[in-house]
């Protein structure tokens, strides 16, 4: 009995062992197989590449986002708890007082004034940024095209002069400009205190960093194939027609890039708005941002209205920490529309760049 049993077991075991051995052999074979080896190597490489890429991207995103989070967390604190040493990230006392004060400081929606359009700095900034963006696109595209494709005497010199303006900081020319602008009107138009002066400067190619846009457009038009232009010319198109119906539609990527930057830089601009004294005639968000001395009156009106948020401390508006906090919050508020807008434009923005690859 017992012997038989053992034999059966051995018989059962043998194929199992064989199977195991076969499996092992096939495994070794496939392990040694050169093509499979290559595929495996590629896969592990891909995996580690993805891992490293993910780690680097997460780290860099962290580095970018950390200061912004710090600022947001500071902005959400109650002003009375600014110097609480125990707070690291999460405020001990949440409040939106800072945002309310910053809102009034920026004059985003000033309801007290009679005429609406001139007092809502948000609306003003949107108008100014949009219009200058459109004007900048047209003016710099025309100039860039002319530098890239239309050969005339002095073409190169003028282009290098334009590039030279990039290197000269605005501060250098500030006093000379400050003396020049009110004293010598531009074609009879006094640019200082004029609502349209930013548009005029943009139209004449002297907007915010127009030189960079001209450079970009020139590079872009230079890279477009010459055959495009020649075929248009053979078909009897003039210079303007060639530019407008052939070259410009192909420059969509450059147009979108320039438009985005023109908008953002105009939104953030501070120098031009102050030089042309927009702060009084047409207040913008950026001109109000620096004016922290208005805090006193704002807080006094708050107190007069009987709001009890900041009671207890007499001269809170003089406290440099409080001022810093409000400036910080106001900067965040000013950025918010741009960020929201960017999240929506972003996809379209990248796609339009992709579409321009006409070379392929």
């Amino acid at each position: 009995m017992t012997n038989n049993d053992v034999e059966v077991k051995v018989k059962e075991k043998e194929p199992f062992r064989k199977k195991l051995k076969d499996d092992w052999n096939t495994m070794v074979d496939s392990w040694k197989d050169p093509t499979k080896k290559k595929i495996r190597g590629k896969n592990t490489l891909m995996f580690f590449g993805k891992l490293i890429r993910g780690l680097i991207l997460i780290g860099l995103c962290f580095v970018i986002l950390l200061p912004i989070f710090e600022k947001i967390s500071a902005a959400l604190r109650h002003p009375m708890t600014i110097s609480d040493p125990q707070v690291v990230f999460i405020p001990s006392q949440f409040s939106i007082v800072n945002f309310q004060i910053a809102w009034e400081l920026l004059g985003v929606w000033d309801t007290s004034a009679t005429s609406f359009a001139l007092t809502s700095t948000l609306l003003n900034t949107v108008i100014v940024s949009t219009v200058t963006m459109l004007i900048q696109i047209i003016a710099t595209a025309v100039a860039g095209y002319s530098f890239a494709r239309l050969k005339f005497k002095g073409n190169g010199i003028l282009f290098y002069a334009v590039v030279f303006t990039l290197v000269v900081p605005n501060e250098t020319l500030h006093i000379a400009r400050y003396l020049l602008l009110p004293n010598t009107p531009f074609f009879g138009i006094n640019l200082v205190g004029n609502i349209f002066s930013l548009y005029i400067l943009a139209a004449f190619g002297q907007g915010i960093r127009s030189a960079i846009f001209i450079y970009l457009f020139r590079q872009f038009f230079k890279n477009l194939p010459k055959e495009l232009e020649e075929s248009a010319q053979v078909d009897g198109a003039g210079v303007i027609r060639t530019f407008w119906s052939v070259m410009l539609p192909n420059a969509r990527g450059a147009i979108v890039t320039v438009g985005l930057f023109a908008f953002v830089w105009q939104w953030n601009d501070y120098y031009f708005a102050n030089l042309l004294s927009y702060s009084t005639s047409f207040p913008l968000l950026s001109t109000k941002l620096g004016a922290t001395e208005r805090l006193d009156t704002i807080i006094n009106t708050w107190r007069a209205a009987g709001k009890e948020v900041l009671q207890g401390v007499e001269d809170v508006a003089q406290d440099p920490k409080f001022r810093g906090l409000i400036a910080n919050t106001a900067a965040l508020l000013m950025m918010l529309p741009l960020l929201i807008g960017y999240f929506f434009v972003q996809k379209q923005f990248v796609e339009s760049i992709e579409r321009t690859g006409i070379v392929g």
Binding site: G54, S146, L158, L179, P225, N268, L289, K347
Partner: protein, 364 residues
């Protein structure tokens, strides 16, 4: 998230439709008015046009080129050249404030008194910090250019590949571009008092947890290498915030590389590494010049030397707002800024010369 997106899409499309309804009749009306005027103008200018058509195409191009550039030229002369020449004159003279009305904040003018090269001699020989600051600023710029170029090229390649959360990462990487402005900087500097305080509270935790310099010195690296690496790691945020625009430039360059090149490389069995070095890099290399110029200009315009220069523009911090309160030593300010401009041109020329050897043009 998707629902929110769809909701916003609906709203935006509704707004678009509404705007279209408003603007279409206006456009039609304008067309109705403008088209007869255009026809009339066409009839008036027809002989002129015929005459113009007889001119050679190249000449017509030249004429239109001048017409296209004319507004730029006028603006350039008025808004740049005249102030620039004035600044040159100032740099050779002793500038005194003529009159400044404190109440109206009106600046009436300046008196200039020719002193020759005195201002330049002063800043070069006697000024305490100008030379050192200038050298260190330019050194930083030269260090920044390769770092930013390599970093932004790598990031552009990574952002161009497909992975989960790409849209989010892209959005995050361009955030510094949006946050990058003078007004914001000023406001954030005011807010840095809080930041310092917060750092002071956190210092014990973070600095002990990971001290990069200590780690490197313990690894027996030479001190210069340690300094370089720790500086690079400290300035990583700066590098990121410097390189937003360059990433965009490279991204658009990579995306305009003809797709058939990549397909051919894949069929031939090239690895990703080879594809990068043999296709992407040469095809993107013309954009290196643009990116390098942008980096140089950007980091020069942010360098610390500008603060040294600006202390001479005016006594108080009134360079922008509030006119020109106590104007002092504007001659020295002008001389300094001219020196700065000239040397930055020199640097950019050197960079362009060095980089132009790397560049490969596909068409030619």
């Amino acid at each position: 998230m998707k629902k929110i997106k769809e909701f916003f899409k609906k709203i935006f499309s509704q707004i678009g439709k509404g705007l279209g309804k408003v603007f279409r009749p206006i456009a039609k009306f304008l067309k109705m008015i403008l088209s007869p005027i255009g026809k009339l103008l066409g009839k008036i200018f027809a002989p002129l046009n015929r005459l113009f058509g007889k001119i050679k195409y190249e000449k017509r191009q030249a004429i239109w080129g001048i017409v296209f550039v004319l507004p730029l030229l006028i603006g350039f002369i008025y808004f740049f050249l005249i102030p620039f020449c004035t600044t040159i004159v100032y740099s050779f003279s002793n500038v005194k404030n003529l009159a400044y009305n404190d109440e109206t904040k009106q600046f009436l003018g300046v008196v200039t008194e020719w002193v020759g090269f005195d201002n330049y001699k002063y800043i070069w020989n006697e000024h305490a910090t100008f030379k050192q600051t200038m050298l260190s600023s330019f050194g930083n710029t030269l260090l920044n250019i390769p770092l930013v170029l390599i970093f932004s090229l790598i990031i552009a390649v990574v952002l161009n590949s497909n992975f989960r959360g790409r849209a989010f990462v892209r959005a995050v990487f361009f955030m510094p571009v949006i946050f990058n402005s003078q007004a914001i900087d000023v406001a954030m500097k005011a807010g840095s008092i809080i930041g310092e305080e917060m750092e002071g509270a956190n210092q014990d935790i973070f600095s002990n947890m990971f001290n990069f310099t200590d780690f490197l010195t313990n690894a027996n690296l030479p001190t210069t290498a340690v300094n370089f690496l720790s500086n690079a790691s400290e300035s990583i945020f700066d590098i990121i915030s410097y390189s937003g625009v360059q990433i965009l430039i490279f991204l658009s360059g990579i995306q305009s590389v003809p797709k058939h090149l990549y397909e051919a490389a894949k069929i031939e069995g090239a690895t990703q590494y080879e594809i990068f070095w043999k296709i992407t890099f040469p095809m993107v290399s013309p954009l290196m010049l643009t990116a390098a110029v942008y980096t140089a200009v950007d980091s020069l315009l942010r360098s610390e030397i500008l603060t040294t220069i600006n202390t001479y523009a005016s006594a108080g911090n009134v360079t922008y707002a509030g006119g020109l309160g106590g104007l002092t030593n504007y001659g020295i300010h002008s001389a300094m800024s001219l020196m700065f401009c000239l040397s930055s041109i020199l640097i950019i020329a050197i960079v362009l010369f060095l980089l132009s050897r790397l560049v490969f043009y596909y068409d030619e």
